[in-house]
Amino acid sequence: MPPRIQIISILICVFLVAYVFELVRRKHLSEEYSMGWLLTGTSMLILSVSEGAIKWVSGLVGATLFTSTLFFFGLLFLMVICLHFSIRISALTKQVRTLTQHIGILDHEKKALEEKVNQPPWQTGTSGLEQI
């Protein structure tokens, strides 16, 4: 691998890993979601640093250029992370939908109760609070 691309690759991976740690430390990123990024950054760092590792992996996937191996695995990791996020977003959408429906129903019931409470006693025979 040409030394320039190797250095750039190492720097990017080091920056990514360090930045993810910093985001977790500042509580801007939860531990759960940091795992995919740390795994991606560390794997790419190992491939960039170790000539033997990248040679072995390139032979395994049949790549002639080491840089192609880096791009290939970079893309693969990103695809996995995107799929993981799509799954999480689907689950969150479902949760938000359920919450929205329950908020709507609870709000309706709250208003109905408020109407009952505020109704004058001579209209119902008993006071609103007694009805509840």
């Binding site: 939908r97 929205t100 429906q101 329950h102 709507g104 129903i105 709000d107 309706h108």
Partner: protein, 271 residues
């Protein structure tokens, strides 16, 4: 002497009361038919329908007086909620626009929570004729029916729609007919009557949140619900675009094919 805790006492008393009520009911039902009408609710999802909802509610109140109406205001930015309240109908306001399926399902959740045994669902744009509510109710109360779909294509009146929409209804209607083993002419109809377990089924996780359509009819059929179509009158709503317009048409066609495919692959959920 046997000492009962409050919970045991409560539960045993409840069991006894339930048994007595059951006996009473059986004796009563064997002697004469129940005169008590089934608890019915009309559900109308509405989004920015301030212009039409008033006339729709008046039409229902005139044709089917006494049946409670529940409008689910799907995050409207106009005066839909105010108009519904002025017409003495119940309204559930969702905090933001969540889509037709979510709004409709909210109504079914409310119906389950409040023990309604029959639910009529209809649109808020005046497309559905309130005069047909009676027909849907009569049909759904029969023993061999859980869901009644009001079909515009079984009616003598001709329903005018765009060629693309007509083609879509034809294709998905035929697919639904094929997998249900019965003729389904109008899978997109939102004018339906449901009873009992069918109401609970819609309130469950099985309901598609965006476009409940041919896929859901196939799912209900696979779960053993008896579905029937009856002719209804539908008016075109010229001032409003369909929810399947523009780029949404492409998504709708894709979603429907995918949803039907995975519905057939999945194990049928329990009723």
């Amino acid at each position: 002497m046997k000492t009962l805790s409050y919970q045991t006492f409560k539960s045993e008393t409840h069991k006894e009361t339930a048994a007595i009520q059951k006996d009473d009911l059986e004796t009563f039902s064997s002697q004469e038919p129940l005169t008590q009408p089934p608890k019915t609710l009309i559900i109308i999802p509405a989004y920015n329908e301030g212009k039409n909802i008033g006339a729709v509610l008046e039409g229902i109140q005139k044709q089917s007086p006494g049946i409670p109406i529940l409008v689910i205001d799907d995050g409207s930015s106009d005066n839909t909620e105010k108009i519904v309240r002025e017409h003495n109908a119940k309204v559930i306001s969702l905090p933001y626009n969540s889509g037709y399926g979510v709004a409709l399902q909210t109504g079914f959740l409310y119906a389950v929570k409040n023990n309604f045994s029959i639910v009529i669902q209809m649109d808020s744009d005046g497309q559905h004729d309130p005069a047909n509510i009676k027909d849907l109710m009569e049909e759904v109360q029969k023993d061999n029916c859980d869901v009644v779909i009001g079909s515009r294509f079984l009616s003598k009146d001709s329903y005018k729609t765009s060629l693309a929409r007509h083609a879509g209804m034809f294709i998905f209607g035929n697919i639904a007919s094929l997998f249900c083993g019965q003729k389904v002419t109008d899978p997109t109809s939102g004018f339906q009557a449901l009873k009992g377990r069918a109401i609970e089924f819609i309130a469950s996780d099985n309901y598609p949140p965006d476009y409940p359509d041919a896929d859901f009819i196939i799912l209900m059929n696979r779960c053993g619900f008896k579905i029937k179509e009856i002719p209804v009158t539908m008016h075109a709503s010229p001032d409003k675009e369909s929810m399947h317009h523009g780029h949404k048409t492409v998504y709708y066609v894709f979603k429907m094919f995918l949803s039907i495919f995975v519905t057939l692959l999945r194990k049928s959920p329990k009723r």
